[in-house]
Symmetry: C2
Subunit: 196 residues, 2 copies
Amino acid sequence: MTTRPVGRPARYQPAELLAVVTAEFITRGYDATSMEDLARATGMTKSAIYHHVSGKEELLRLAVAKAVGALFAVLEEDAAITGSAVRRLEHVVRRSAEVLVEQLPYVTLLLRVRGNTQAERWALERRRAFDARLSALVQAAIDEGDVRSDLDPRLVTRLLFGMVNSVVEWYRPGGTNGKDVADALVALAFNGLRRT
Amino acid sequence: MTTRPVGRPARYQPAELLAVVTAEFITRGYDATSMEDLARATGMTKSAIYHHVSGKEELLRLAVAKAVGALFAVLEEDAAITGSAVRRLEHVVRRSAEVLVEQLPYVTLLLRVRGNTQAERWALERRRAFDARLSALVQAAIDEGDVRSDLDPRLVTRLLFGMVNSVVEWYRPGGTNGKDVADALVALAFNGLRRT
DNA sequence: GGGATAACCGAACGATTGGTCAAATATCTC
DNA sequence: GAGATATTTGACCAATCGTTCGGTTATCCC
């Protein structure tokens, strides 16, 4: 059921607009990106942008919300709920990496948030909640004896997902396949660098 | 030979000033930090700051240069030059982590640089040069047969030092010892998560 | 006390910032 | 063509930005 169009036709679909804006936020950084920059990048005027969103901060909120939604969805997947903790952990690591690659710009923005505005503080809170879920998973895998117990579980969680998240620093679409990155990540994380 | 003091005594030593400024850059982000913010944080006026540096960008340049210097110094250490490639790699990983913890604010700033200004572009160029040295080290360790050869060496380098660099995202002085972090990092990187 | 010197201050600068508003424009249905 | 509706525009605003500058303050040596 498509609603028949009324009024002047829009130059952008909401999702397309967000994609252009997010790309700009990433290359210049959120704070260094002016509404003027966004106007130039979209081909609209500043005031046209304000017709669609309440301001610069809402654009950030929309972008990071997209990333948050995609990441939390991984935790609801069947393989993240059933099976041994170590298998669930492996699944979450692999899928997080894949989501990160699929939703690269949005996750990149999420990981760069500093907490200056309301939207940024909300994003930080969601990240902490996500990290807590990961930490519980690592702890469970240690308890079940499948992950080494000689290291602090919180430290392990941070390093493990620090490695996963670092993918946003260099991954560019068109290069290595997202699945290949996830495979290398899992192999490295679980078995280490050393020749076996 | 200390030069006798002449003129009004300074409120700050250059290094102390840079520490305060860098802390501010990190909590708010470089672009979101105004000279007004820096004046408040230092207790000086904006104009007093301008007596010591040419502007905001020079403060950033000084801070990231400190990090760059400390990181490159690791590559000149004896254990980074002599011995097998895998031992040299292990040393560089461990020492990079330690330097990162010792010089936390400066390295944090270095890793957040986006390339908007001259100083930032210089920092990015130095980071690329550093990464190239690391990549060569990983390749050498693979060639000598001590590191697994089933993964793309560049990918391995990026993930490995992505994990190292991710420490800036959560490490806070007074918590875990810097050496303990480096130990966990090396253990995880070389042997992996799995119980052995 | 009087230079000399370095550090610091207050007020102001032009430029740019995120945001506003009344009017103009393009499409629909009738 | 006449409404109705959604989108877009250009001119404008107060606030803040990084920076400048003429003058003041605190210390030194003589």
